[in-house]
């Protein structure tokens, strides 16, 4: 199921101000070319999640425009765009009580007529695709009928990845996909996302708190601070000073493991 190319991303002077007055993004512009594995770094509250949510329409910018694959993201285009975007979530976003099979198949809901979805009968082709995806993320057939909540965190995120890749998306949005996972599993999960995305030529935008892993996996790193881009470049350009600037008010505040 290899599609030709991924989707490019463009933010044009985007600001997001919540109703309580919090400014999450301020006058932010950036461009990510198709097929890039781009990592978002930045301290808590710097606006990483908000930026990602502006791309899949979970938030609407207060000002400015967001483009995916050259298409302006708005109420009219979002329905079509979401079919091309796979989202991976920090706490997996799985229905804990439901079986793994249903959780993965849910990734194809946008393609299914509503009445068919209501009856819960998926076409065989989709079931085959779900099985293929589960196998590729390293799960066994025995997991199919287990409840998602009964899996380990790493396994749950694998289910989340399988779901996100169900429709062979052009763009993958991953919001802290490895929070709460151990170092080895974190590495494996990021490797899995990169491998799957590469097979499709898909663009990946992934927020992380692990600078070392960002250096390993990213083609490009964007540093956010207080809703603004403070760093944008290749991993090799991300100096220790830069990391210090990103995470602290002053150099001394930076915890050693980030440098």
């Amino acid at each position: 199921m290899s599609k030709a190319a991924g989707a490019s991303i463009q933010f044009e002077k985007v600001s997001k101000r919540f109703s309580d007055g919090t400014v999450a993004l301020s006058d932010l512009s950036l461009q990510v070319p198709a097929g890039t594995f781009c990592v978002l770094l930045g301290p808590s509250g710097s606006g990483k999640s908000t930026l990602l949510r502006c791309l899949n329409g979970l938030e609407t910018p207060s000002q400015g425009s967001v483009y995916v694959d050259g298409t302006l993201v708005n109420r009219n285009s979002i329905k079509q765009l979401r079919k091309e975007i796979g989202s991976i979530h920090q706490q997996f976003g799985l229905v804990q009580r439901d079986q793994v099979a249903n959780n993965v198949l849910a990734g194809a809901l946008s393609k299914l007529p509503t009445w068919q979805a209501m009856l819960g009968c998926y076409p065989r082709a989709l079931e085959a695709r779900a099985a293929e995806m589960l196998e590729q993320v390293g799960l066994d057939p025995v997991h199919l009928h287990r409840r998602a909540g009964e899996l380990s965190g790493g396994q749950q995120q694998r289910v989340g990845i399988a779901r996100a890749f169900m429709l062979a998306p052009k763009l993958i949005l991953a919001d802290e996909p490895i929070a709460s996972l151990d170092p080895k599993t974190s590495y494996d999960i990021l490797a899995l996302i990169r491998e799957q995305a590469q097979a499709l030529g898909a663009t990946v935008l992934c927020s992380l708190h692990q600078v070392d892993l960002a250096r390993v996996f990213a083609d490009r790193i964007i540093g956010l601070k207080a809703g603004r881009v403070v760093f944008d470049g290749a991993p090799s350009d991300l100096t220790a000073d830069m990391v210090g600037l990103l995470y602290g008010h002053d150099e001394s505040a930076v915890a050693p493991e980030y440098v």
Binding site: F92, R97, M118
Partner: protein, 337 residues
Amino acid sequence: MMARINRANSGTWQFPQLVTASRLFWVAVLCILLLWSGRATEMDRAFVMTGQAIHAAATGQKDSQVVNGFSQIAKSLWPLQLESRTELHQQADQPAALALPFSHIETTSRSSQSTDPVTGQVVTTNQTKTELVVPYGYVLVVVSKLIETIQMAIWATLIALIISLPLGFLAARNLMGDGFIVGLARSLIGLLRAIPELVSALFFVVAFGFGPIAGIFALGLHAAGFLGKFFADDSENADIKPQEALVALGANTLKVARFAVLPQVLPQYIAYSLYILDRNIRMATVIGLVGAGGIGQELKGRFDMYDYGHVATILVAIFILVVLVDQLSASIRKQLL
């Protein structure tokens, strides 16, 4: 930060007090209100009469109105009416009527004296009455009425589910936003819940006539309001993360409801529905008091005809049914959760 905490200051810290002036004031206000409402609801008389009754019962005296009233009821309730008697008019009826085991035919002859209006003579007439007696016949009647009652409850629950599922969906803010539709659905739910079953049953009896239809509609609509509210509230309390995940993957509202909300809330929904069935069975036994079918209608009829033996049988039967339903639903609930 730690260094800044001043230990000397802790002597002035205020701890919450149970008894405060304002609380005492409100307790006093509450007492005055209760005293006032006690006058209005004759609680003073209830207190005095109950005291007399306890005194009378303890000392064995019989001058308490309450004790007299209760003992009169108790006497007339006993013995329970179990048998049924049907008068037979034709000899031909007999073989067919005797199909039930232990049933027999009793012939009673009674002589009555009356004065002939024309001749002025006293004449004695001999009347024989042939009756089919089934020793447990009335129990059968009550059981069939109970079965009707349970059926009413099942249909009422079905109607409630059919109405409340879409209504609860429309009233759930997590799915429908916070607009006009949610407001409308919530008001409708409020309305359904606000009308007591016995009141709406009165109206349905006028519209549909005596019998189970009125009871089923009255119970069903009220329960629909109940379930609708529970369904909507549960949906709103469901974990938002999977819902957002499916929205981000392009699922529409119905699909989100079906795949992200329903699996989360289904066990609760089933528990509520069972509770409503349980409640409907209990309510169905009384809804007949206004003529809306079921055992209650039989109860009201017997009560009005002073057939207290029959009333007693019905009460015992209702008691047994409610206990059985309680235990059954408790065990089902235990298996589900």
